[in-house]
Amino acid sequence: MSILISKNTQVLVQGITGKEGAKGAKAMLDYGTNVVCGVTPKKGGQEVEGKPVFNSISEALSVIASEAKQSPRQEHNGEIAASPTAPRNDTWVSVVYVPPFAAKAAILEAIENNIALINVFVERIPIKDTAYCLAAAKEKNIRILGPSSLGVVVPGVARLGVMGGPLINEIFKPGSIGVISRSGGMSNEMSWQLSKNGLGQSATVHVGGDLLMGTTYADVLRLFQSDEQTKAVVIFGEHGGSYEFEIVELIKNKGFTKPLAIFIGGKFAQLLPEGMNIGHAGAIVARGQGAAEKEKALSEVGVMVAEKYEDLVQLVKPYA
């Protein structure tokens, strides 16, 4: 069992012809993820990492679907409009690697084509564009992971995005610990600390550091709750933002009952003036939402709070 992705997931890469997109496609293919194709407007017909590039998602989906029916490959010129009654493409995932100014159009295109999971790698998307896409996705019950998300690794199964980089086999090991982080770097680092101490991961999910998140800690905890492989979860949290308080509510409502250990970074931020923005965009220091307040609220519902992030490993070890 795995969360978010499986061996059957079909991945398309939006912006595959760009530098980061091509790197992302290669990273996924290297780990055995089923990358099917890429999409870049006006670059249809090219190939990247041996995968075909299409002008639009609708073109990609219809060509792939017709190939699956073993009909001969057809030439497609221009865009094919998505049918409003198009079925949800539940096995499809889009990974979005485009510049920030092109992100909104790319994400909306994936939503229009009913791609069930959209992993937005793009950093520094204007918040208005993010809110727009999240509203459009919600209407269709489509999950966005990100923005600013390096993706997901399900060790031994597949990865979305570039997490783990070339060292993925050294850093990630299959196991029973779920990992969630706002920070891409810490997703990797925490997985490494776990593996180094003999604890494998059921999945590592980078939810991204923006103020508005398509998928929150609580959303991922719900997935880990119903995942039999997951025995305990570690979270790298941050000062600022209110997402840690959603965890408190979730636990109070018995929506998550497995052991959970968390580290909240950014105590030094209390030395800075209120309202100052450091770290991730989401981490605006706000009254009543600092690292100390979060730790208190979380420990009151039984979450294990780590002093140093390295301590997270020891806290979950007994449950692995």
Binding site: K128, Y132, R182, G185, Q193, P273, I278, G279
Partner: protein
């Protein structure tokens, strides 16, 4: 970025929200000359700072003569307000206030949509207004006008206005929504929204935070009636002083042509003496904590992330190293996912070759092409005789903070 009140009011005026008549006065300006054309009976002089609670902290003065205004200006320029540097003063006509209301729009991270907050009890902290006296309306960001939604009672929380939905302040809400949308803001707040004795609605204050990530939609070229040029906003910091040269210089790095290739633009100058070059928004804040835990004091907060090119890292590192009085340098980063360690280290090496620091340096990093990166850094250390210790993923970041503490005299 937070705007000063006068900048926020300019945005309000652009979208048709009435603001009081007034002028902005800078340090060294001849105040009497600046206000010679203002025929006001009574004046209000307001310190321009980047955070709230100005009134309670004596940052707003009411005056009835030009001499009083001059004196108030002198006093306000000599103050820091809640640690905030007074960058300018706004001298306005004192309003004849009949009612004070509150209205704001910001993003609700829970619902992931903008929320319009309105109360007939303005002029005080909205946190101090009883919950049932506050109206909250969640607006779909895809809507052009919030007023349609305002009438939908299901979205209303608290007490709706007793006199019905279509009130003059609804017009203000709609205009404020236009400011929120068109100006790419994260927060717009009018507190108080004043109804004057003669029945006009005026924004007596303005709190606006713009979304820095939307800067490409607000360029210096092509600015016109619809686009506000953000490049004209003066540099600022919330650290209670003018931004330092180094802070201003770092901000420029990410505004170049390659702005979307990685991020190098975080540099906040602090009081300590350990130069910090950190990586990633999450690890960097955890490492600030880790450094202070071993008794060292950071000279700055700096992080780069997202695979920036060599040139960006070089500029950033050079600026960090150029702060006088450093006693050590800590470059701590995670096992990178996709940031190319060789490419980014080349930028650091360029800076080290140029600056040749003599204080202790500790580096902890790993990730793509890190082997080549450390070979290059070792060669750089040898040719510059650097006092440097280097670590990869086998040593945790916090451990290397301890090691640096042992090296720093």
């Amino acid at each position: 970025m937070n705007l000063y009140e006068f900048e926020g009011k300019n945005l309000f005026a652009k979208h048709g929200i009435a603001i009081p008549k007034g002028v902005v006065v800078r340090r060294g300006d001849d105040v009497k000359f600046k206000i010679k054309d203002l025929r006001f009976k009574d004046f209000v002089v307001k310190a321009q700072v980047l955070s709230g609670k100005r009134g309670k902290n004596n940052g707003i003065r009411f005056c009835s003569s030009v001499d009083e205004v001059v004196k108030a200006c002198e006093e306000l320029f000599a103050m820091n307000i809640r640690g905030q540097y007074v960058s300018a003063l706004l001298i306005e006509e004192k309003l004849d206030i009949a009612e004070e209301h509150y209205v704001s729009i910001t993003y609700d991270t829970n619902k992931k949509q903008p929320v319009l907050i309105y109360s007939r009890q303005g002029g005080m902290d909205i946190e101090d207004v009883p919950e049932k006296k506050i109206e909250k309306v969640w607006v779909d960001v895809r809507q052009d006008s919030p007023v349609v939604i305002l009438s939908a009672a299901k979205n209303l929380v608290g007490e709706p206005d007793p006199s019905g939905a279509s009130l003059p302040q609804d017009d203000i809400k709609e205009k404020l929504w236009k400011v929120f949308q068109a100006e790419d803001t994260r927060l717009v707040e009018i507190n108080p929204l004043v109804k004057t004795a003669s029945g006009e609605w005026v924004a007596a204050d303005a709190k606006v935070a713009i979304d820095d990530d939307a800067f490409f939609r607000h360029p210096s070229t092509g600015s016109g009636p619809t686009v506000t040029d953000w490049t004209t906003f003066e540099p600022r910091t919330m650290m209670g002083r003018l931004p330092t040269e180094r802070e201003v210089a770092v901000k420029k790095i990410d505004e170049g042509e390659k702005y979307y290739q990685g991020t190098a633009g975080k540099y906040i100058e602090l009081d300590g003496d350990i130069g910090m070059i950190l990586n990633g928004g999450g690890a960097s804040i955890a490492n600030m904590d880790a450094l202070m835990k071993v008794g060292l004091k950071p000279a700055n907060y700096t992080e780069y992330s997202g695979n920036p090119p060599r040139e960006k890292v070089y500029q950033l590192a050079k600026i960090v190293l150029s702060k006088p009085g450093l006693k050590g340098l800590w470059m701590a980063g995670v096992v990178a996912n996709f940031t190319n360690i060789k490419e980014t280290f080349l930028g650091i090496i360029d800076a080290l070759d140029e600056m040749k620091p003599t204080y202790p340096i500790v580096v902890r990093r790993d990730g793509p092409e890190s082997k080549e990166a450390f070979e290059l850094l070792t060669a750089c250390a040898q040719r510059n005789n650097l006092n440097i210790k280097m670590f990869t993923k086998d040593t945790s970041m916090s451990e290397t903070a301890k090691i640096l503490a042992g090296m720093v005299i």
